[in-house]
Symmetry: C2
Subunit: 215 residues, 2 copies
């Protein structure tokens, strides 16, 4: 049996919305939070390279600082947790090596059997400009954002993706500056406030005819 | 009660893997397929702009042509369905208008109440270079890819994201060339073959300590 049926899945996605007002008194319990962090960790990425770090910010003082760099959006401080999604700017030969080692260890495969894969990834990434690589890695990060928001909805956790932030300021505040990782987007997670006027608005989407083509 | 508990959610994500060999005899039933297309349609995007089209390719002849433009990867022809994710290259003033109309109609809001939002989106997108806009829209598309793979796993549908394709050739074959939409990535969906040697490999991911930071 599927873990969920199509009706409940669709209902969960309909229930989700970009929550503008969170209930600042309600915290996500640790079991649920750890499950959400695990969904981030399990996110698929190109070649499995996982070019990212996820910073889970609970500290109120830090979040006040971040809010000031986020057009003062209250979600940053009022949600249960703020997750900052940072991308690894460049995938280096060392990063590829680290990934191949992880793969070999997990799958108990002799490392020399993975040499062709390693060579292929090196060739592919080595042919990219720094800009192209940053864009590529950032696209992978958005898979994680998608998986996070979907999984949150399934656990009845509200979320709000936040692109309207100052990434450079986030990097300074979170100590990412100069680390090889940089902030790209954030996601507030928690529980909607009963006062959020958007909570009961019907979900607006283009009809299938506009966006789905069958061939 | 949540539609799913944390244990089942994590198990579904552990079950998922980038399926290399699909059972070409097993087709996704129409209820499940429609639910997956609905998850695409419900994907969140920045300002709700939905800058995308999803092409669901079932036609075997077309898929043979696409496979030839995909390093001959068998997933392209053998999976139950191939979904091609195409991005809208530019969000125009007309696109914004269409979205605002959709929002007004769905939420039964007088259109002039949405004028400030419309102006804000116009200002934001108007300040972007063509390149930046394409990258921004493509990142949104990867949220859809993430939501699709996650939801598929929850319905016990296998998937394989495919970046190793020739987007320009896909555009020609699918009639997208010159349409303002262009192929960015594809995703094969269906059922794993019993012969896929990767199906039972332990999932390899970096440990939480490497990618999750708590503050």
């Amino acid at each position: 049996m599927n873990p969920i049926n199509t009706t409940d899945l669709t209902a969960a996605l309909q229930w989700r919305y970009a929550t503008k007002a969170f209930d600042s008194q309600k915290k996500i319990d640790s079991t649920t939070l750890e499950a959400l962090l695990e969904t981030l960790r399990l996110t698929p990425s190109s070649f499995g390279l996982q070019p990212w770090k996820f910073i889970v910010v609970e500290n109120p003082a830090l979040r006040e600082q971040l809010r000031a760099q986020s057009w003062n959006q209250p979600q940053v401080t009022d949600a249960s947790h703020l997750i900052v999604l940072a991308v690894k700017e460049a995938v280096t030969v060392n990063d590829i090596s680290e990934w191949i080692n992880c793969l070999a260890l997990t799958q108990q495969t002799p490392i020399d059997q993975l040499a062709p894969l390693q060579g292929m990834i090196q060739q592919f990434t080595g042919a990219m400009s720094a800009d192209d690589m940053l864009h590529w890695n950032t696209r992978q990060l958005y898979i994680a954002l998608g998986q996070l928001m979907t999984c949150a909805a399934l656990l009845e956790i509200d979320s709000c993706p936040l692109e309207g932030i100052s990434p450079a300021s986030y990097d300074q505040i979170l100590g990412l500056a100069g680390s090889g990782y940089c902030t790209k987007v954030a996601c507030a997670i928690g529980y909607r406030s009963g006062l959020d006027k958007y909570a009961n608005a019907p979900k607006a989407r283009f009809p299938q005819e506009k966006i789905i083509v069958r061939m």
